[in-house]
């Protein structure tokens, strides 16, 4: 865990200088009726600070994966956290009332957008859930030495 925190610190500091007020309209229909094919771009990242309203490791709302509903200063934002197993492996629990900071950006999803988190911070613990290119991490990213050794026994 310490390793993860150390590695995302730089990103958090950078993003901290780019704190934008993220409106509740983070998820919205794409304008002008034109959908997007969009890559994640860190230059578009914003910092979202708020309180957890609800955490769902497998929301029925697209995109597939874990979601957290955040109450920010300007409304509620549904945040896609990617693979719930990455959060589990990092022992990051999100409960209603937790104060969190999310680094991420809006990504196109069908006719609308979704707020895609790259880093989730709760207290001193910051967890990366997407790569710098915006792809949700797999549990392989969280392998400890003990887990690597255990995988050596897989047949």
């Amino acid at each position: 865990m310490k390793l993860i925190i150390r590695k995302v610190t730089v990103s958090l500091m950078f993003a901290g200088a780019l704190v934008f007020c993220l409106s509740a309209a983070a998820q919205q229909n794409a304008s002008s009726g034109t959908q997007q094919l969009q890559s994640y771009d860190q230059t578009r990242e914003v910092s979202l600070v708020g309180t957890v309203v609800k955490y769902d490791p497998a929301s029925s709302v697209a995109s597939i994966g874990a979601h957290v509903l955040i109450q920010s200063g300007s409304g509620q934002v549904d945040v896609h956290l990617g693979n719930a197993r990455v959060l589990q492996a990092s022992h990051l629990e999100l409960n209603a009332g937790d104060r969190v900071r999310i680094i991420g950006e809006n990504l196109a999803a069908g006719n609308g957008t979704i707020f895609a988190a790259r880093v989730v911070q709760k207290g001193p613990q910051a967890i990366a859930v997407r790569s710098s290119k915006g792809f949700p991490l797999t549990p392989a990213s969280t392998l400890s030495q003990n887990q690597k050794e255990a995988l050596g026994g897989v047949r």
Binding site: Q35, L37, V61, I64, S131, T142, L151
Partner: protein
């Protein structure tokens, strides 16, 4: 067919849709068909790709296997070898010392491989012929639970030597890259071709999409490599001669390979941290010499990972010379399903320097940037394809690859889509509150475009364990195919759909798909769910 997802994309019995009432026990009718134990007779190379949970790790990790086993035609496994790569951690040359299998009349069956290191691994399978079939990993024991999809193919042309791999091959390797810097390993796709000559690879080219990093204009990169006997194989040269197993280095990445025949090699990476798996298929002299020679409809499917999660693109187009028409594409992006009904700004090119390599581009009028794909043809109509669609900034929108096949035998109708079919799907579904691996293998009879009788095994993780195995096997499979006026050319702007209903102990679940026929004997499909509870893709393959 190679597994479509990887944990890349790869996700309770969320059998939420169309659940029927509870109670009762599913009793399948006695299977009918022409298969028996003697249908599995010989040495077969297998590959599966999925996930594993170990007894010491409360999470799931990507897992790929490649190997070979010998079936005696009487229900026994006499020998074999397998290699395992779990999220970059490898266990190599595991000897298979025995085992058993069953084959029902419908081609469905089970396979147990006993390992020299102790224990066994288990699979569900369905034969598509005596030369092979589709399979899913159903291993569930005190130390690991694993599932994943793959296939097995009869090996011919042995005893093998390194020189058995000869001539040009087209390949598609996908999985996780070898970047050990957090937060990688990251998704990776490599398609290309190489020529092998007595173990020397000196004319390879490849297009790689590693974690979305691709050149602005798709550009192949040259590489060299070697194929060799594995000097560290505890079974010595026998594993090469009997099972076709050797080691390779291609563009600096180490692999084990299995020679299926001179026409197909199977690769599994063994470099530290990397998990790439895929086949190389011999390229024949029917590949089109130039774009003017193109005259076919093509179906294609790619799967992998987008910024939203798992992604599938499936569709078809017609190439008449340099003209691309009748474009249909369906995208399931992490549970968001969108359809492209036409293409503008279309183009298709063939690389004059690298035979068989080409690019195809078309734009959905409702999308801001065009779809772009790189393909490598191994024949006039078959090949591999990689999505290199990129937004205006910051590289590829996704990392995904798959298969492309020239459409033959249209118009597709109830007259030619009939008989018995093997089925496999793979991907993610939501199970016990977590999106995780799901794999299905089954068989069904199609009559008047309805799945009249059928059965399937479906394996999923539940929490950090597999479901009870008994609850997963032998679901009744029924359903239907709606050709929707489709004639296989897309000229009517319509796509075909398919509904599959699985019933177990009175619980019924229907999963809806779009389906693109390559021929009456082969189709690709992807689910159309508009919720984020399942994203799977698969293949429907006729039995003889």
């Amino acid at each position: 067919m190679k597994r479509l997802f990887l944990a890349l994309a790869s996700v309770a019995a969320l059998w939420t849709a169309a659940c029927g009432g509870g109670g009762g026990t599913t009793v399948l009718p006695p299977p009918t068909g022409k298969f028996s134990l003697s249908s599995l007779n010989g040495t077969y190379s297998f590959v599966t790709n999925g996930e594993v949970i170990t007894s010491t790790a409360a999470t799931s990790f990507a897992l790929a296997r490649a190997g070979s086993f010998t079936a005696n035609g009487q229900g026994g496994i006499t020998a074999g070898v397998e290699d395992v790569n779990s999220s970059g951690v490898t266990t190599l040359a595991v000897q298979i010392t025995g085992g058993s299998y069953t084959v029902n009349a419908d081609g469905r069956g089970t396979l147990t491989l006993n390992l020299g290191s102790g224990g066994s691994i288990n699979f569900g399978l369905v034969l598509t012929s005596t030369s092979g079939g589709l399979m899913i990993d159903e291993t569930f024991n005190s130390t690991q639970a694993s599932t994943g999809s793959g296939n097995f193919i009869l090996q011919t042309g042995g005893p093998f030597t390194v020189a058995s791999a000869a001539g040009p091959y087209v390949f598609d390797f996908s999985g996780l890259d070898g970047n050990q810097t957090f937060p990688c390993p990251c998704p990776d796709s490599i398609v290309g071709d190489f020529t092998a000559n007595s173990g020397v690879v000196n004319t390879g080219v490849q297009d790689e999409n590693d974690n979305g990093n691709i050149p602005a204009t798709p550009t192949p990169v040259s590489f060299t490599g070697v194929l060799a006997q594995d000097a560290l194989d505890p079974n010595g040269p026998a594993d090469l001669s009997t099972f076709g197993r050797g080691v390779a280095s291609l563009n600096g990445i180490n692999y084990v390979f299995y020679i299926v025949s001179s026409n197909r090699l199977r690769f599994l990476s063994t470099s530290n941290g990397e998990m790439l798996v895929g086949d190389a298929v011999a390229q024949n002299n029917t590949i089109p010499a130039n774009v003017a020679a193109l005259n076919s409809g093509f179906s294609f499917i790619v799967s992998g990972m987008s910024g939203n999660g798992g992604i599938i693109r499936i569709g078809r187009f017609t190439a008449t010379g340099a003209t691309v028409s009748n474009v249909l594409v369906d995208t399931n992006d992490a549970g968001t399903f969108t359809s492209t009904n036409s293409g503008t700004s279309t183009s298709i090119t063939l690389d004059p320097v690298n035979p068989g390599r080409g690019t195809v581009t078309f734009k959905d009028p409702n999308l801001s940037v065009p779809f772009t794909f790189v393909f490598y043809l191994s024949s006039a109509t078959n090949g591999v394809i990689q999505d290199v669609t990129q937004s205006t900034t910051n590289g590829a929108t996704d990392v995904a690859d798959g298969a492309i096949g020239g459409q033959t035998g249209s118009p597709f109708s109830s007259s030619n889509i009939t008989g018995t079919y093997a089925m496999n799907w793979s991907g993610l579904s939501v199970q016990s509150g977590v999106a995780d691996e799901e794999d299905l293998v089954g068989q069904a009879t199609v009559s008047n475009l309805a799945f009249t009788t059928g059965a399937a095994d479906i394996y999923e993780f539940q929490s950090v364990f597999l479901h009870n195995a008994g609850a997963q096997t032998d679901n009744a499979l029924t359903g239907s195919i709606l050709l929707n006026g489709g004639n296989g050319t897309g000229s009517d702007g319509k796509r075909s759909t398919m509904a599959v209903t699985l019933t177990k102990n009175g619980q019924a679940t229907t999963v809806n798909f779009v389906v693109y026929f390559v021929s009456p004997q082969l189709a690709y499909f992807a689910n159309t769910s508009t919720s984020s509870t399942r994203i799977v893709a698969g293949v429907l393959e006729a039995q003889p």
